[in-house]
């Protein structure tokens, strides 16, 4: 049995050789027979005739011989596939459109759903992830009177449901740790601001790395083994313990050349000596899917890293009951549910947190403990991306629907066009099943080709989405992979479309009454029952396509207008031709007051680069950073709305922010010289009204209990308003002050270089100068000012681009669908139109006749689409800027675009109809 199949399959590849050898063999046979007969005395000619007669039909012998080897169904299938390919190739436009749109539909869906799966469903790569829980709290009110006086981390405010967060004071963590009835282990972790960017020096080479603080039983609680060395243990996490670090597998490969090389190495972190004790497993990325830390540090190393920093971590933070900063996870004991854990721990937490409240108003809005499932780690990624992904998912779902409708319509039209051919084949005895199978082969082939191409689209789409979600961050690593289940479902869906819409017309076509079908001229009279069925079916599909296209157009219009609104926001400074990059000399060991001189010297060197017109520095880029400290007019209390930014000389010149009165900062504004400040218009108007602010004094106080006077500054300039702390935020009152005139002392600095020509041309010079000044200070986050702003609207840019692409695709598909349907109807009515024209109908009248039909279809589609758009656009309201969800301009534009496209698509066949020659048309009847 198996031998036979194997032999037959082998035969598939040796057909020609088989034929050649068989005829050689049979020729020899005949010659031997002739020879034999000649030997018996028969004349050669007679012998040949006799031999041929004896041998019988040679052709038949060959045919029979070949048949033995053929796998019947495979042979028919091959014939069907060849035939289908020929038919598809015969109508290239339709075929290409069907395959391409299927590929886009399948690919886009696979990409988006794969991401959904990675973000919303995937478990952490640790043993038994289901028993992990994440501790959170929830407070019903978002108002300011709250036990949380200070924090480091993220809280989520919602005016309807209140505040939620996953950060706790350290004493609360110790409280949870005491209870061992529900947890087998409780561990804490956080990413305090000072470990977010670590300057890691390995064998003299400095570079930045992302850090993460973990408590001593973090790795034991997660239950992962080291890839090399050992992981952090409880004894590492105490004050005075030797400074150790664990690095990620990727980091060990990047910086040490392998996990084994990393373990045991001495390194410098922010210029402090640390020992790398081990490496995490390759697949481990921490507990936050949105982050992939390079370096894990025991929590207590925060004391080391914070020492000497004005805003650094202080040891007393461990005891502070109102400072919220550690994130807590736990591993449940077997059989304990998150709900039971919550019930067990909540009362103790409630009692503890009540003791931290200072007054009745705080007591009225205490945080309540919430225990959430932790198999997927932290939900930061889910909070951030689930909404945009749902929107994208809906859009690509619509694209797939459009695609399927298009393929269905194409197959319906084709089946109708081939009615006569099929009838003919049935009449000469072709099996009905055979014909159905042949038609099905074609639709399945279309779907398969589309699916195969869809895989490529999916792979490309995943890359694009990673870029989109990474939002320009180079350190970003989301572990999304092509999800074969999703791909399978999408492919199955399109295959199903192919089969359903291929089968239905195939069944109808093969059930025809042969005689009328054969008598039909071309695609004759609309008398047959199936014909009207086909028309209504295809009309429904076209109306659906137009409705979906309108939805896509509206979405695209809304997102494009949002982007254009964002891009036309007046910045107040010139974003073109500015290079930005970041340095942190403090992390490399520079201290006050030398650090100020170091930054000032670098600024001078950068200004001297040929082609750099002006150079300055700022604590953060204008759009991405925002700082507040108690600052206000001398003699009056500080206003918490006031913001400040520490900057260097020539800041306003470099950013091209106009100075309305007074002057820019100069090199003479240095440590020791009188403290100065420049205020923006908003600050001037709010505090001085029409009075002249120049010469007035401002005071800056240190944050915290001390309220010590830090600076007393004279206002030397008023600048035009410039965006600060966000593109769409209202411009706050801002005080600009020199970075080196006292508290707050400089730590990191962003340099801004106004250049002639492309700013990125100067990157090499910048790196070289920085390396010469101090090789321990890495240059990081090099970008143009324009890119820095675009980064904040990355999602809007991507949405606008994606949706425009989708909308164009939808428009094309709908246009072609409409064109196909109208063309078919015109062809079907050739006779009728011919009669009308013979009876005196004008060409214009015929065009109108056809276009009226188009308009009816389009009006139906637009009505449905408009209703759907009005009903659903509110779901994207949070993605829009500068307009309402039901923006009338967008809706009108979408409507007009679609109407125009429909008329163009309908006009071609209408014109063709008007060119029908009555004589020819009537002769066909």
């Amino acid at each position: 049995m198996w031998a036979r199949l194997r032999n037959k399959l082998r035969f598939l590849f040796r057909r020609e050789r088989f034929d050649r050898e068989l005829s050689e063999e049979m020729d020899l046979h005949r010659e031997m027979l002739e020879l034999e007969q000649t030997r018996q005395g028969i004349a050669p000619e007679a012998a040949a005739v006799s031999a041929r007669r004896q041998l019988g039909n040679t052709m038949l012998a060959r045919e029979y011989s070949r048949e033995v080897w053929i796998i019947a169904w495979l042979d028919t299938l091959a014939a069907d596939v060849r035939y289908a390919l020929r038919t598809i190739a015969g109508n290239r436009t339709f075929g290409a459109l069907a395959i391409l749109s299927l590929a886009l539909g399948i690919g886009a869906n696979t990409a988006i759903y794969s991401f959904m799966d990675s973000i919303l469903l995937r478990s952490l790569p640790v043993p038994d992830p289901e028993s992990l829980v994440v501790l959170n709290w929830h407070a019903k009110d978002t108002r300011r009177d709250f036990v949380m006086q200070g924090m480091s981390g993220t809280t989520y405010d919602d005016p309807k449901t209140g505040t939620a967060a996953g950060i706790f004071p350290f004493p609360a963590f110790e409280l949870f740790r005491k209870d061992d009835t529900v947890f087998s282990s409780v561990f804490a972790h956080c990413q305090s601001w000072q470990v977010r960017r670590l300057n890691v020096t390995i064998r003299g080479q400095s570079d930045l790395a992302a850090g993460w603080n973990v408590s001593g039983d973090y790795f034991r609680g997660l239950g992962i083994p080291p890839a090399a060395g050992r992981l952090i243990i409880p004894d590492d996490d105490r004050a005075g313990a030797p400074a150790v670090a664990v690095v990620s597998h990727a980091f060990s490969q990047r910086r040490f050349g392998g996990a084994a090389n990393a373990a045991g190495q001495s390194i410098l972190i922010d210029n402090l000596p640390f020992t790398v004790v081990g490496v995490t497993p390759r697949e481990f990325f921490g507990v936050d899917p949105a982050a992939a830390p390079d370096v894990y540090l025991p929590m207590h190393t925060n004391e080391l890293l914070g020492a000497g920093h004005q805003f650094g971590f202080r040891p007393e933070d461990y005891l502070a009951p109102n400072y919220y900063w550690v994130q807590v996870m736990g591993r449940l004991r077997p059989g304990v549910s998150p709900a039971r854990a919550e019930a067990a721990l909540a009362p103790a937490f409630r009692q503890w947190v009540a003791g931290t409240a200072a007054n009745d108003r705080e007591r009225a809005n205490l945080p309540e403990l919430v225990v959430k499932e932790g198999a997927g780690g932290l939900d930061s990624l889910r909070r951030q991306y689930s909404q945009p992904l749902y929107v994208l998912m809906t859009l690509v779902g619509l694209i797939l629907a459009l695609t399927c409708a298009n393929v269905a319509n194409l197959l319906l039209a084709r089946a109708a066009a081939r009615r006569r051919e099929i009838a003919l084949r049935l009449s000469v005895g072709a099996g009905r099943l055979r014909i159905v199978r042949q038609l099905l082969t074609e639709s399945v082939l279309l779907a398969s080709l589309g699916g195969a191409l869809g895989v490529l689209v999916a792979i490309w789409g995943m890359r694009f989405l990673t870029l989109l979600l990474a939002n320009g961050r180079t350190s970003y690593t989301l572990h999304a992979e092509l999800n074969w289940h999703v791909l399978g479902v999408a492919a199955a869906l399109s295959l199903l479309t192919g089969i359903l819409f291929g089968l239905a017309p195939a069944m109808h076509a093969t059930r025809v009454d042969l005689m009328p079908a054969l008598k039909e001229a071309r695609a004759g009279q609309p008398t047959a029952r199936h014909s009207s069925w086909r028309i209504s079916m295809s009309h429904v599909l076209v109306v659906g396509q137009i409705a979906i296209s309108l939805l896509m157009l509206v979405a695209a219009g809304l997102f494009v207008r949002t982007l254009s609104n964002l891009q036309s926001i007046e910045l107040g400074f010139n974003r073109e031709n500015v290079l930005l990059f970041q340095l942190d000399a403090r992390k490399a060991g520079h201290r006050d007051p030398e650090i100020g001189a170091f930054y000032a010297d670098l600024r001078k060197r950068f200004s001297a680069i040929p082609g750099v017109r002006s150079a300055s520095l700022e604590r953060d880029s204008l759009i991405q950073g925002e700082h507040g400290l108690p600052i206000g007019l001398s003699g009056s209390p500080p206003n918490p709305a006031n913001r400040f930014l520490t900057v260097g000389p020539a800041f306003f010149t470099t950013m091209q922010i106009p100075i309305l009165a007074g002057r820019d900062f100069e090199e003479s504004d240095r440590p020791g010289s009188p403290a100065v400040a420049v205020i923006n218009e908003v600050f001037a108007k709010a505090n001085f009204g029409d009075r002249n602010p120049l010469g007035q004094h401002l005071t800056l106080r240190e944050a915290g209990e001390g309220d010590r006077l830090a600076r007393d500054m004279e206002i030397v300039g008023v600048s035009r308003n410039a965006r600060y702390g966000g593109l769409t935020r209202a411009i706050p009152p801002v005080v600009y002050m020199p970075y080196d005139q006292g508290y707050p002392q400089p730590d990191q600095m962003v340099y801004a270089l106004r250049t002639s020509g492309d700013p990125l041309r100067y990157v090499n010079s910048v790196r070289e100068i920085a390396r010469q000044a101090d090789a321990r200070v890495p240059v990081s986050e090099v970008r143009t000012q324009a890119a820095d702003i675009d980064q904040t609207i990355n999602q809007e840019i991507a949405f606008a681009e994606l949706c425009s692409g989708f909308a164009i695709l939808a428009l094309v598909i709908a246009g072609v669908g409409l064109y196909g349907t109208v063309s078919y109807n015109v062809a079907r009515r050739t006779g009728e139109i011919g009669i009308r024209m013979a009876l005196g109908a004008q060409r214009g009248g015929v065009v109108r006749l056809v276009l009226r039909e188009v308009l009816v279809l389009v009006a139906g589609g637009l009505a449905i689409g408009m209703a759907a758009a009005l009903g659903t656009s509110k779901f994207v309201a949070s993605f829009l800027y500068g307009m309402k969800a039901n923006d009338p301009l967008t809706l009108t534009l979408a409507l007009m675009t679609l109407l125009g496209t429909a008329l163009v698509a309908g006009y071609a066949p209408a014109r063709k109809a008007s060119r029908i020659d009555p004589m020819i048309a009537l002769r066909q009847e």
């Binding site: 032999n7 063999e25 020899l28 031997m32 040679t58 012998a61 029979y64 011989s65 080897w69």
Partner: protein
């Protein structure tokens, strides 16, 4: 002229294959030799044409009951030599048994009339 039976059309299905296998138990042979042998042994009763011999050989090949390889014929020309395989011998034994049962049955019916 004696009556001749054109094989395969009038014999029971599979009989020709059985006869070929039996012939090949005498030793490897090419197609013409097989046909000649069948004619000779049957006293010219069984005449095998190409249109039945070669398809039958293919059926034997596809089932791995015989093997074929190119060798030299008496005419110093390339000829395909067929050789029976162990699987072919097993098959022949089965077929022969079935055939005996069948002829026995037919004989019994004929004798009974």
């Amino acid at each position: 002229m004696r009556n001749r039976t054109s094989l395969s059309s009038e014999l029971l299905p599979g009989t020709l294959e059985m006869l070929i296998l039996k012939t090949l138990t005498r030793g490897p042979a090419h197609g013409y030799a097989v046909a000649r042998h069948l004619e000779r042994v049957s006293g010219d009763v069984l005449r095998v044409g190409e249109s039945s011999l070669y398809p039958a050989l293919q059926r034997l090949l596809v089932n791995d009951w015989v093997q074929a390889e190119w060798g030299e014929s008496e005419l110093k020309r390339r000829a395909r030599i067929y050789r029976i395989t162990p699987a072919g011998r097993k098959r022949l034994a089965q077929e022969a048994q079935g055939f005996e049962r069948m002829t026995g049955a037919i004989a019994a019916v004929m004798a009974g009339v």
